[in-house]
């Protein structure tokens, strides 16, 4: 469920980064207010635990496949929502940076999808409501499974919305929803089972561990609802831009800052100077660099088929790649030569 950068547009990535950064600041403030020194090492070590727990698999009867713990729910049960959100955010950041699991630009989306929903929706609204204080039995198991399903369904829907809004994948919205939601229904059941099994064990072995350190849930649900509303509006706004026009993110920001559809260089100054210089030095007289990437052309849904352009694009692309590799190779050779002398 970790989204990669390759499928996200800067507008969507940036929006979700903003939403997530706001949440991180808010949670950091809340955890600080709890003023419990024990939280610092506990959060770090439990983050490491989640990492490890995701390596341990159990078999799902009658299917031949296996599943593991997701993390968000059990962290919230142990640490409370604010600290749990921060831990999930740190786990996803380390996964993105060290294990290439999920992209950096997509990090905002990933933290929101996998951290916000379990900590602020599934746990307080579903798990607490059903399980109350039950530490075993039907209540615990049904609460875990239902909460895990809801959390993952919301997260998966987030992935679909963000991918569709980015407009890089061609997967139609409906097809993508039909692909993602059922898969995550199954994953949700599995994650719920895993969570309940661990919670039931801890409840038997050491019940006091299950009292969240930094408060059980937000005292009022207003900030949660507000946060959801704001993100829904933001997401909706992003989606509608992309649905209504095919402006890409950069064009949009250009339009926003300059008030015009395309950025036009001023007639005097650097742009004009460069254009003149280019006219003079161009090795191919009728060949305009600028023309080839003008936003008009980009906005065209079906690029015109032109054999010449295609071949030159491929040849140029391959050679540029080779040149880039060569630059790296030369630099490396220089370094090793310097070391030897």
């Amino acid at each position: 469920m970790h989204m990669a950068d390759a499928l996200i547009s800067p507008a969507v990535g940036g929006t979700m980064w903003a939403v997530t950064s706001g949440l991180i600041f808010w949670c950091a403030k809340k955890v600080k207010q709890a003023a419990d020194d024990r939280l610092v090492p506990m959060m770090g070590v439990l983050g490491a635990f989640i990492f490890t727990a995701q390596m341990i698999n159990f078999s799902i009867p009658a299917t031949g496949s296996s599943g593991h713990l997701g993390g968000g729910l059990i962290l919230t049960a142990l640490l409370g929502p604010y600290a749990a959100f921060l831990v999930m955010a740190s786990v996803l950041t380390v996964q993105a940076l060290f294990f290439a699991d999920g992209g950096l630009l997509a990090l905002g989306c990933n933290i929101f999808n996998l951290g916000f929903f379990p900590a602020f929706v599934a746990y307080p609204l579903i798990y607490r409501m059903i399980a109350k204080d039950a530490k075993s039995g039907v209540r615990l198991w049904s609460a875990s499974i239902l909460a895990a399903i809801v959390g993952l369904q919301l997260g998966a829907f987030g992935v679909v919305l963000e991918t569709t809004a980015s407009g890089i994948s061609d997967l139609p919205f409906g097809t993508f929803v039909l692909l993602m939601q059922p898969i995550h229904l199954a994953i949700g059941v599995v994650e719920g089972l895993a969570t309940a099994a661990v919670v039931a064990f801890v409840a038997r072995a050491r019940p006091e561990a299950l009292v969240p350190i930094s408060g059980i849930a937000p005292k009022s649900l207003r900030p949660v609802v507000l946060g959801l509303l704001v993100s829904a509006v933001l997401l909706g706004a992003v989606v509608s831009w992309f649905a209504s026009s095919q402006l890409d993110g950069l064009e949009w920001s250009i339009k926003k800052t300059t008030g015009q559809e395309e950025f036009q260089g001023s007639d005097d100054g650097i742009h004009a100077g460069l254009a003149k210089l280019q006219e003079k030095t161009a090795f191919l007289p009728d060949y305009g660099f600028k023309k080839s990437v003008e936003p008009d052309e980009r906005a065209e849904p079906w690029p015109a088929v032109n054999a010449g352009t295609s071949v030159s694009g491929i040849v140029g692309g391959l050679i540029t790649l080779a040149v880039a590799g060569l630059i790296g190779y030369i630099l490396k050779a220089q370094r090793t030569a310097r070391k030897k002398t």
Binding site: A48, A100, A196, R206, Y287, I319
Partner: protein, 257 residues
Amino acid sequence: MDELGRLDTPLHRLDARTKIITTVAFIVAVMSFPRYEVSALMPLFVFPFVLMASGNIPAGSILRKVAFAAPFALFVGLFNPWFDQHAALTIGSHTISGGWLSFASIMVRFALTVSAALILVACTGIHHLCAGLEQLGVPRLFAVQLLFLYRYLFVIGEEGLRMIRSVQMRSTGSGPLRLRTYGSLTGHLLLRSMDRAQRIYCSMASRGFDGQVRVLRRTALGWRDVIFAGGWIAFFIIVRNWNLADGLGRWLTGCGL
């Protein structure tokens, strides 16, 4: 990755903030290209290649990690050729559909962004990275959380592996565990982790921990940082605005005259 982060090259000596900002600028530049673009992305490969060479980072280790993470992008990207079958490109008598073109674009973007993120870590190291993040305004609590998580990742990970190994040695075969066994195994690991956190807290408290984690590594931005970030960002802007690869191709093949 840890060892790479401790190397001492001009690239490693740059301020962490510089490298973070440049990498983010790079990723935004890559992602802002239109969806059918492949050739214009190629000059951007200069960035990871130059960084790998000047930071003494072995290409193999980065490539392996990129390949390891590829399946998700591959999974979603593979639908593009399916849904988008209009002809976008012809080479001789062969026609390539827009879907394959955008699929290729997705994979190139993927390789660029993932390798850039990995190289950022490999040429900075987690300690400098977190200090840099904090200096850039990330809440200290979160920066410290990242450091703690990274520090105990391997400790708890090894503990988990030992537990799995002992279960495997006591049972025939090495298939996945039954849910019941899983619950108590993972629960035990959780309790052990929490005990460890308690011990860490005690040892921190006995050394004078007062709830504030102090980060010592304060670094200053120098002229090298300005040149590095400024130079690369200028390069990204040029590549974003002019299709250098296409220009080179046209010049070499004589098309577009």
